[in-house]
């Protein structure tokens, strides 16, 4: 029989045992000793329940904010870049002598929930009336908003430095930095998610598939859906329509942040969910 260490309130606090229990990180003797303790101690059981509730509430809130961010705003970009893009569009339009009706640099915002799906001609992507596979594979970078923390000047972390590249649109540099960040913090799904996205935006869909696949398999509802969506985009980039459909169909069956866009993509691919 395993020897159980003694656990008291002080050790619970000092070793952060409630959090470790929630995360499934305690060894069996510690887990059992902690359980024995919370059977006796009302205060520690309260803390555990509050932490569990807080975990659930924060995860749902983060998922909801991710939905809003991913469907409402493009990623932050320097003003100079935006103006340069606008200027180039004007020049192209003037040179061609046509009205500006070309595609925007990123796909348009997804339709509202009440918008009726437009009927599309039948046929594979690229056939008359259907967007091309390249258009469907196009990716809008998910925005990144750093956490607001009180305090003065902070030394940026590996993750923070990498995300500065990401926000500037330097995805190769972002991917290199995020790879280092995931080595430092292997459990951070946030770093791995943005690594996958950065690899995709840097033109490395194979690497993106590996990283996003790990995130989508992680079971974390905050990132899993978003990872699956960009995974589908990575498959489309590689022209692997079957694999993309599989991911999109999983998304389309749910009611998450990317479900509606997944249904639209499936329609465009010529496959109803």
């Amino acid at each position: 029989m395993e020897q159980e260490d003694h656990v008291d309130c002080q050790r619970v606090r000092e070793d952060e045992m409630a959090v470790a229990y929630l995360r499934g990180e305690l060894s069996e003797p510690d887990r059992s000793a902690f359980e024995q303790h919370y059977f006796e101690c009302g205060d520690c059981f309260q803390d555990l329940e509050v932490l569990w509730d807080a975990q659930r509430v924060l995860r749902r809130e983060k998922a909801a904010s991710g939905v809003r961010a991913a469907t409402a705003r493009p990623a932050a970009r320097p003003a100079v870049w935006s103006w340069a893009w606008a200027a180039s569009l004007v020049l192209v339009a003037l040179a061609a002598g046509v009205v500006l009706r070309t595609e925007r640099p990123f796909p348009p915002a997804p339709p509202t929930a009440t918008a009726a799906p437009a009927a599309l001609p039948s046929g594979p992507p690229g056939s008359p009336g259907r967007p091309s596979l390249e258009t469907l594979a196009r990716v809008e970078p998910p925005p990144y908003v750093s956490l607001a923390v009180r305090g003065g000047d902070r030394e940026p972390t590996s993750f923070g430095r990498a995300m500065e590249h990401y926000v500037r649109g330097s995805y190769v540099a972002a991917a290199a930095g995020l790879r280092a960040a995931t080595r430092e913090e292997p459990a951070s799904l946030e770093a791995r998610f943005y690594l996958g996205v950065s690899e995709l935006l840097a033109g490395h869909p194979e690497a993106a598939i590996v990283e996003l696949g790990r995130v989508s398999a992680g079971g974390d509802d905050v990132y899993a859906d978003a990872a699956r969506f960009y995974l589908a985009k990575a498959h489309l980039t590689r022209r692997d329509v079957g694999a993309a459909r599989a991911e999109l169909q999983r998304l389309a069956r749910g009611d998450g942040a990317h479900s509606q866009e997944a249904r639209r993509l499936l329609r465009d691919l010529g496959t109803e969910p």
Partner: protein, 204 residues
């Protein structure tokens, strides 16, 4: 109140609690149905939480919690608990036996397999969901300082340890631990103040 008074008060509370548990066990031994309900009320949530974390199966957890309560009551009615003040340990030990039996019957590994962090973050069962408590908790979270809230998020949602959070936020690990524990304390206090101590978190 002098600092030492708190310590004495806590010790008095613990002694009174031990005596209450002893009496509870003895009353069950005499067939007091009110005592049986009190035992179920006190331990059912704890057993359910333990079973959920161990099995990751809501249906199984419900059944095993019920089975444990029945086994404890049966043993107490027969006077099988020699030291009545050790009732919590007896209940937890019984729960472990029920759980081991469950795993044996299912020919699974005993519950010594490490849970992966993502698997451990499952949603609680319906019995543990409480809209009123969740509402109070949201209010409590909104009242936290943004930095404390961020630390909680990085801990509970991102799964980062204090030293990792400290590195990310350029704080010392000790400061992170202090702020985390302050956040938890404030949340608990807010939930208690909102719902009242009797039914807030099954403290009994």
């Amino acid at each position: 109140m002098a600092p030492g008074d708190d310590v004495f008060a806590e010790e008095r509370d613990r002694a009174a609690e031990r005596e209450r548990l002893k009496q509870l066990a003895l009353r069950i031994g005499t067939g007091d149905p009110g005592a049986e309900a009190e035992l179920a009320e006190r331990f059912h949530r704890r057993i359910l939480v333990m079973m959920l974390f161990r099995t990751r199966d809501r249906e199984a957890a419900r059944d095993l919690a019920q089975e444990t309560i029945l086994a404890v009551l049966g043993a107490l009615r027969k006077g099988q608990l020699r030291e009545a003040e050790k009732l919590p340990g007896f209940v937890q030990g019984t729960a472990r036996n029920v759980l081991n039996s469950f795993f044996r019957d299912r020919r699974q590994e005993p519950p010594t397999v490490e849970l992966s962090p993502e698997v451990a973050c499952f949603e609680p069962a319906d019995e543990l969901e409480n809209a009123e408590r969740s509402g109070a908790l949201r209010e409590g979270l909104d009242q936290l300082e943004p930095g404390d809230r961020s630390i909680l998020l990085l801990t509970l949602v991102e799964g980062l340890k204090s030293r990792e959070i400290a590195r990310r936020l350029s704080l010392s690990p000790e400061v992170v631990r202090t702020r985390k524990s302050r956040a938890v304390k404030r949340l608990v206090e807010h939930v208690r103040a909102t719902l009242g101590p009797a039914n807030a978190l099954s403290r009994k």
